[in-house]
Amino acid sequence: MTCALEFQDLTLGYDRHPAVHRQRGEIAEGSLTAIVGPNGAGKSTMLKGVIGILRPLEGRIAFGGLTRSEIAYLPQQSDIDRSFPITVADLVAMGLWREIGGFAGLQTAHHARIAEAIAAVGLEGFEKRPIGSLSGGQIQRVLFARLLLQDARLVLLDEPFSAVDVRTMADLIGVVQRWHGEGRTVLAVLHDLDTVRTHFPRTLMLAREVVAHGPTAQVLTAENQFRARQMCEACAGPPHTCGRIAA
């Protein structure tokens, strides 16, 4: 099994404070991995490091033959301007950016794929609606449709189900499983451990450092969760040990 990502002593942080510290490990190509851990454990930070928004303070991420344009990323709080006059179909179409770029026009085949992606997330009939008229769950469906068109080999999802109802979540998990079936690598930050147990074969537990990584049943033990909480709390209060200048 080839690896899609390899973390080599990766340290990421903000303004000298590390949020992810000396992370090691591999993400196998085609794997479906949940990233869990307490708040402040560095889960979102890790995804930002992978997509390249944050530069490593130390160490590096090795991509097993992936180029940047083959990675798709759904941020936790997307800064979409929902008052902007753009329709659902137009926003979803932007998922084709890798193919059409900033300037090329849409062909008939593209329109068919856009319609298909919108249908796959259950939003038929919403094509012409401005995004401002959608509910939170519907916006999340639109963003998933756009991810579908991005046709990425590695998909990064940051708390994709945090503000959606059960029905929407079930539909969107269906999309995630479709990606898994197609051999794409998916990394998703999640909080609901039941969802993780039911749908994600592998889990990476973070608490600034890797607590455990492997098959979900072996990672999500009470012992590991207790250790993760302790590791995060050890870093939280001032003067905290993580404030030392790295040796």
Binding site: I51, I53, S69, A72, Y73, P75, S78, D79, I80, D81, F84, P85, I86, L91, M94, W97, R98, G101, G102, F103, P130, I131, R146, Q150
Partner: protein, 289 residues
């Protein structure tokens, strides 16, 4: 009769025809840029950039007198310098764009006022601040039309990156390196159109023809294409009626044009179907589910 009132001034006087042509060129070029400024919540950026252009035009005036080329190039250099410096500071340091832009334009404006007040007369200052729409010569008209053509062409090419940079900047940055290019090209277009505008309407009034029609359009439509069409039409009609008012009542033309645009804004504010005041006072019945 009505026809005569509307057409006679332009039939009789060459300067009126030139003024109208100049204003239409500015309406077509600057107003779509204004629509994007509004959509990006950067309306006040237009104002800041207009102030930033002043010292460049003043230096151009000092070097070469009332020379079209020198003042245009001076204004372009000053405007671009402020836009690039502010953009650079925003992207590299902790300062947000509004503050960094304000800082640089204030510096630029102070330099401009200093230059004009020590070396020029008040008449010159009035010329730069309020423009000379009734004295547009051939060269100026060609310059205005050229800038409009460049502007329309650049907006057409940059349309997709610009829309995405407004609607979902994070996504644009994750799929493409065009984000910075789109942003700076757009700022360059703002400067370019303000420089065109200041020849006719002055540095301060030039912002008016950019922003007011965009604000008018906002009350009549939600689609981006329609916004641009409505805004350009509003700008052209304001130019036409502003020039006629200034002709019949001997008013200064620049402020007259902007005031008509302002009147259109107030009317839209009250009667506009998309979020206007009338809709608030007399709400329509909600749709049955």
């Amino acid at each position: 009769m009505m026809w005569e009132i509307l057409v006679q001034p332009f039939a009789d006087f060459g300067f009126m025809r030139r003024a109208l042509m100049g204003c239409i060129a500015i309406s077509v070029g600057a107003t779509p840029v204004g629509v994007f400024l509004m959509l990006r919540r950067m309306s006040l950026t237009g104002d800041a950039m207009a102030h930033a252009i002043l010292p460049g035009a003043a230096v151009g005036y000092l070097v070469a007198g009332l020379s079209l080329g020198a003042m245009t190039i001076g204004g372009l250099i000053a405007g671009m310098a402020v836009a690039l410096l502010a953009g650079f500071v925003t992207r590299v340091t902790a300062l947000r764009e509004d503050t960094s832009l304000a800082a640089f334009y204030l510096i630029s404006l102070a330099v401009g006022v200093l230059i004009v007040s020590t070396r020029g007369s008040n008449v010159d200052l009035m010329h730069v601040l309020f423009g000379t729409v009734l004295a547009l010569d051939d060269d100026t008209l060609i310059l205005l039309c050229s800038i409009t053509s460049i502007s329309i062409f650049a907006l057409a090419i940059l349309f997709r990156p610009l829309v995405l940079e407004c609607a979902d900047p994070q996504f644009l940055r994750s799929v493409s390196g065009l984000s910075a290019m789109a942003h700076f090209t757009f700022l360059a277009l703002v400067v370019l159109n303000l420089v065109a505008g200041f020849h006719a309407l002055g540095t301060l009034m030039a912002v008016g023809i950019m922003i007011l029609p965009a604000a008018v359009a906002r009350f009549w439509s939600v689609g981006i294409g329609a916004l641009i069409v409505i805004a350009v039409s509003a700008a052209m009609l304001s130019s036409l009626s502003g020039l006629l008012f200034s002709y019949y009542f001997s008013l200064p033309s620049g402020p007259a044009i902007i005031l008509v645009a302002g009147l259109a804004y107030v009317l839209s504010l009250v009667f506009g179907p998309m979020g206007g005041l009338a809709g608030r006072v007399f709400p329509r019945r909600y749709l049955k589910t």
